[in-house]
Symmetry: C2
Subunit: 146 residues, 2 copies
DNA sequence: AGAAGATGCATGCGCACGCATGTATTTGCT
DNA sequence: AGCAAATACATGCGTGCGCATGCATCTTCT
């Protein structure tokens, strides 16, 4: 089954390069305001959550170490986009939520980012292919979790 | 065509998360010896090239800034895996090639890495799906280049 | 040939990251 | 109740990165 492994490596390299290339396009883009992609990622995660999130929860969602998240939140707090609220059921934890300006920024940057994503992704793939790609990627990591 | 953009964003998020998740698995893995993934990336690029590569060429291949590549090469040089050779046709350029030990390390780490990739990728996807994923990713970035 | 701009690479600097560790709080065991 | 282990977060420290910049060399134009 050597060729199965070879195929797996080709798929990984293609996946890796595709993500790096697209992400690279975003890095320098103007759409982020004064944020960087990962900072927007935190705002986005908060925007989809039902309530304030723990720092460790954000770590899992944004794929950042806990100390890194701790500092990232401090930066966004300094910018006035986030605020910490204490968890009533656990005095060790501190939950994070967006301020009004944070929500405004998230919507604004999110809209611009979505347009940019749409432009890059639909440039190369049609509807069916996008669906297929999405499903394959989800299946790929879905299997790892279990 | 709003739903087309929505689909594109779902596909991007899935692609992004899949790559980050899999790459995250590699970060901490033991397979790399004393290298990090990006350092192996340089050795791999050199292993597939017909001859010594320029620093700027490696930048494009490994998706790293030119100063970053300059230092990365210096580190690998210190480890004895790489050496610089001067370009006969351009005295500004310095080309890079692997030492014998570099080639040995590349093969060794490459084999271990390939096994790991195979394990993670084939865990979630079968043959046809891997092929499909590879082709979709290649098509996605292929379209951006032109 | 000579000057002006482009190109290839290296270095100073500030920043964000991960790892190791510290402190406070909670949980579990007896 | 009381102590040990686990958990949540913050901080010190070292390192790699990108940006701005500098130096050397090549290219182009006149």
């Amino acid at each position: 089954m050597a060729s199965r492994t070879k195929l797996a490596n080709e798929a990984w390299e293609a996946l890796f390069r595709a993500q790096m290339t697209i992400a690279g396009e975003f890095e320098g883009a103007e759409e982020w305001g004064s944020l960087v992609p990962r900072e927007y990622g935190v705002l986005y995660a908060l925007s989809t959550a039902p309530g304030p999130l723990r720092i460790t929860e954000l770590c899992e969602d944004v794929l950042l170490s806990q100390p890194g998240m701790s500092r990232l939140i401090a930066r966004l707090e300094d910018k006035g986009l986030l605020e910490r609220v204490e968890d009533p059921s656990d005095a060790r934890a501190s939950r994070v939520r967006m301020t009004a300006e944070g929500m405004r920024t998230q919507r604004q940057v999110g809209a611009a980012h979505a347009r940019e994503v749409g432009r890059l992704m639909t440039g190369g793939l049609d509807r069916d292919e996008l669906t297929e790609l999405r499903d394959l990627c989800q299946k790929l990591i879905g299997a790892d979790d279990e």
